[in-house]
Symmetry: C2
Subunit: 345 residues, 2 copies
Amino acid sequence: MKEVTLKEIAQELGISITTVSKALKNYTDVSPKTRKAVLKLAHKLDYKPNSFAVNLRTQESKTIGLIIPEIVHHFFSSIVNAIIEKAEKKGYLVITLQSNESLELEKKQIDLLLDKRVDGILISLSNNTKTIEHLQKVIDHNVPLVLFDKITKLLNCSKVVIDDRKAAYDATCHLINSGCKKIAHIRGPLNPQNAIDRFLGYKKALEDNKITFDKSLIYTCEKVTFEEGYGFAKQIHTEQKDVDGVFAVTDPVAIGVIAYFNEVGIKIPQQISIIGFSNWFMSSVISPSLSTIDQPGFEMGKSALKLLLKEIKALKKHKEFQHQTIVLPTGVIKRNSTLNYFSKN
Amino acid sequence: MKEVTLKEIAQELGISITTVSKALKNYTDVSPKTRKAVLKLAHKLDYKPNSFAVNLRTQESKTIGLIIPEIVHHFFSSIVNAIIEKAEKKGYLVITLQSNESLELEKKQIDLLLDKRVDGILISLSNNTKTIEHLQKVIDHNVPLVLFDKITKLLNCSKVVIDDRKAAYDATCHLINSGCKKIAHIRGPLNPQNAIDRFLGYKKALEDNKITFDKSLIYTCEKVTFEEGYGFAKQIHTEQKDVDGVFAVTDPVAIGVIAYFNEVGIKIPQQISIIGFSNWFMSSVISPSLSTIDQPGFEMGKSALKLLLKEIKALKKHKEFQHQTIVLPTGVIKRNSTLNYFSKN
DNA sequence: CTGAAAGCGCTTACAG
DNA sequence: CTGAAAGCGCTTACAG
């Protein structure tokens, strides 16, 4: 099926392309009669503007790029969900790419998106992103950029995050309030800012509650998986350090911990309490259900997109745009992997 | 930062735009000396072809559209994962949209993708897709279309599926072989082909094993959720029909069933066996771990994309293209929610 | 080996 | 109110 063009409509009506274009775009300087005829024929022929031509003319693609570490991941897929849905409502389509936690891939994908001339880019950094030239390049090309969740403070652009330090503080306090005296922390990799912040929140909570920080109770994940959680739980058990609480950097890791203790018959939460982070769907359905931190993925996606579209709009109008950092609230979700008897809050 | 154009390179070197273009595209009719000078300057200026102009000229977007019912879903996110990754390697970017199980949205999204002039469309149908004009429209516009997983047989295009009937047959036989005599089936909605096929596979398995089909043991989901699984398990329990096996249309539903029986202290698999479908990640980590059907999401995404790219290529060369239907193999994954003592296979 | 010219399909400043 | 013309930045058939 051949696509209909302005030219064809113009020829059929015996008028100029210019007038057809204006009529379709509701310009005021077209006679009602002409406009009507154009609209009628356009509708009849199911005319759709050729987006390639429109893009070239307007230098806009009405497309935004989205890069996340991985899509098969409850939290990130919730974010993608929000972004795609809201973007569609605002007339933008979304090109999604995954860095697979690789800095090299991330760099390449930034180039792909710039080559594609997307109108803006949303990105959550890979765990291995230690340099930022590729991100600075986006800004230098005058393409609006918004970082979310896994960010770097070194970049002058808008950001959407949660207060990881506070959330981790709250998680740790919940363990302490429910009676834990010796709390291990299975942390994320050393590079990403939010793994660092969660660790610091944990440490501060101990401090504020006069519990001595013990370096040997820190276990560091590389891939942040169920398997690592399971492995570290085994290690904790074997080392016999009388650990009575575990704060895991994210739910899959915590679920690995639960799986191990379930297996060896250690009672949760009576003998050991576990708290995770992110509130993955499965955390509510495992046994015992996992206490965790509510991390608002959908809200985060929505906010990031909103900021990006604002900046795109400002850029188009050549207006100044003030970069913002939005911090979304989190909360402790108390379930059955922690005791709630002593809970103060 | 202003983007560099062919014109600027031509001016700086004092040659024509034509020659610059040819040099960059490795046409043979350019002198080595000229070519070298062009490549050098292009590299120095970090020249990137303006994709808007290239799209308009070539009438190709190097972009494909992908529509799925929902992205926050283990199986679908695995498919998206595969498609994005493989497409990138082949020089295509992917625009993803979600129908949210709505036919109206699905129609709109098809239009968006056609307006965008994507080079091809991959789609898994919503549960409420009962008409196919919007899909026929894609074909009529000469845009390659590949259906996967949730398909309709009414459309003449390539398809990638699993043999749902056989997989369901195998799942049910596994229950029978492990000793179940009275097996309930929590099925999917009435419309989607794969819910129908899974139901038929279940029925056939009973038949082949001389177990009378009992209509009252069929429970029909609307949204196919954990909550529905939980609710139907309660109903099964209350109705006291001595059900000793449950085949659920998908894992989240099966996990709802497990949650209920765990709660009321009915032993799985001793008193009742459960099998799901799709092998979601969480199925391996709940307690008891869930027996299920291995549904190869990554493979499905890969195959669908491969077929689509083949068709795009054929179309470009004005060659005939033979539509194909690929059926991917599945297997029963035996875990702890079913007894394995009597297993024959 | 080089380049002028046409054209992809639109938008819009400008003239009448 | 209408339309000729320029231009977005490329690609490519064609002439020389």
